[in-house]
């Protein structure tokens, strides 16, 4: 990710951090792109969010950890490292989802 793109994308973090939702689709990525090779295997999930005032929405996120999530898992959005340090020296962070233990 280029630094300028990273800066723009970081403005959206506050919208997500702490939001909770439910997993509706999950896989485990074992063959990863170069910047994520040290994170492999890592979960990729589709999370359904229910805002009290609006309709349900869905969003895809990388999951925390190395194990596959299950459909129905309750998750929370957290800020985490997203892959390795890139050529420009940037340590990329971004939103991932973590299991909260609910079901």
């Amino acid at each position: 990710m280029q630094p300028a793109h990273y800066y723009r994308q970081s403005k959206s973090w506050s919208k997500w951090i702490g939001k909770t939702g439910r997993v509706v689709g999950a896989t485990l990525i074992r063959v990863a792109p170069p910047k994520f090779s040290r994170s492999a295997p890592y979960p990729l999930v589709i999370v359904e969010f229910s805002d009290p005032n609006s309709e349900k929405t869905q969003h895809t996120f990388v999951g925390v950890g190395h194990e596959i999530f299950q459909i129905g898992d309750e998750v929370k959005c957290v800020l985490r490292r997203m892959g390795q340090v890139n050529q420009s020296g940037l340590i990329p962070y971004g939103i991932k989802v973590k299991k909260t233990g609910g079901q």
């Binding site: 999950a26 896989t27 990729l44 869905q58 990388v62």
Partner: protein, 370 residues
């Protein structure tokens, strides 16, 4: 106005060490011209389909390269829609013909992918997904989510997915240009290494080099296959915004338009080259194109209904899985393959189906006899 496939050609598909992007592009152009028995200067415009020449080979502006190769510098356009680049370039060329501004045009799809290492290739291919909303995803990962949804909703089995790969490998043995001419077994597919659960290595189409080209004309020509109709459909770039994960709405939209415009029904199609970038993609296509009821494509495949002596032959070329998937070339190669079979008189109506991304763009063509 009738659009005929005057000339057609594909290069070999595979790991072609001795050929670079230019070589493949030029070979396909020359091959299609020779097949059409035309001089280069008779081509009034050229359309180039290519997804990632800029990333794989640091080569862009391919349109001008194709134009220069023809010698008389006809107007040239590059079309990109990820893996649907080929189908979309054909559609763009057809619209140019239907406008009346041109009578004879050339469409060439090309991709050179095997010079990069597989991790880099994964990254380049992933750029066809939503890079902001699907950051960290890979294509196998996105299609794995589609596979999970289909298996959960309809009980589609691991065996059904494997059967797609087995069938396409068997078909490819009759295709001299195919990347793989090697039969595989259900066990081999089901036990191959996991790439993104539940998809395994042999569920995934390979990384291939290759090019394909056609000459399309509205001039009267005899005994050539005709493009009867085409349709294009779109849907969200990211999977999470889709209304349903058990179908590709873009395919359904494109197919509906193609059937309407041709006046034909799914049951009249005898062969179809569909976009099996992953085995699940073929199962989705068979349903979305109207060849099977929702949820039934797995069973249909297991019962041998999507091969010879079945209901319809799906992917006679071996599909993306076994014929190979040089991204920009695939949509054009599908037209080449179906046109050839129709010209030989083996079938009356055929269909091609080309998808971009995880189902954001779809192009469907219906081909018939002259």
């Amino acid at each position: 106005m009738t659009i005929s496939v005057l000339g057609k050609y594909t290069t070999n598909f595979g790991e072609l060490w001795d050929q670079g992007l230019r070589g493949l592009l030029f070979e396909a152009i020359d091959g299609a011209l020779m097949d059409a028995d035309l001089q280069p200067k008779q081509i009034e415009a050229v359309f180039v389909a290519n997804k990632a020449g800029g990333s794989f080979s640091n080569k862009r502006h391919l349109s001008s390269l194709a134009s220069q190769h023809l010698g008389h510098f006809p107007p040239a356009t590059r079309v990109e829609a990820a893996c649907a680049s080929g189908g979309l370039a054909l559609l763009t060329a057809e619209q140019a013909l239907l406008s009346g501004q041109f009578q004879t045009v050339l469409v060439v799809g090309v991709e050179k992918m095997t010079d990069a290492e597989s991790a880099e290739t994964t990254k380049i291919l992933a750029s066809a997904a939503d890079m902001i909303n699907e950051y960290g995803s890979t294509f196998p990962g996105l299609y794995a989510l589609l596979a999970q949804a289909h298996m959960n909703k309809f009980g589609t089995t691991r065996e059904a997915l494997s059967a797609v790969a087995v069938k396409n490998h068997r078909h490819a043995c009759q295709n001299l240009k195919a990347h793989f001419c090697r039969e595989i077994s259900l066990e081999q597919v089901s036990h191959s290494k996991l790439v993104a659960d539940p998809l395994r290595l042999l569920d995934c189409s390979p990384i291939s080099d290759g090019a394909a080209a056609v000459v399309l004309t509205t001039q009267k020509v005899g005994k050539k296959a005709r493009v009867l109709a085409a349709g294009q459909g779109q849907d969200s770039l990211d999977l999470a915004s889709r209304k349903s994960l058990t179908e590709l709405a873009a395919t359904k939209r494109a197919a509906r338009l193609a059937y309407e415009r041709s006046g034909l029904k799914p049951s009249e199609m005898q062969i179809a080259e569909v976009h099996d970038c992953f085995t699940i993609a073929e199962l989705l296509a068979v349903e979305d194109l109207g060849f099977a009821k929702k949820g039934q494509s797995g069973q249909m495949t297991l019962e041998g209904k999507t091969t010879y002596d079945g209901k319809i032959v799906i992917n006679p070329s071996g599909g993306l899985k076994a014929c190979g998937h040089p991204v920009g070339a695939t949509g054009v190669k599908q037209l080449v393959y179906v046109s050839e079979l129709i010209e030989k008189g083996e079938y009356k109506y055929g269909l091609t189906h080309n998808v971009g991304g995880s189902g954001a763009t779809a192009v469907v063509h219906i081909i018939g006899k002259s």
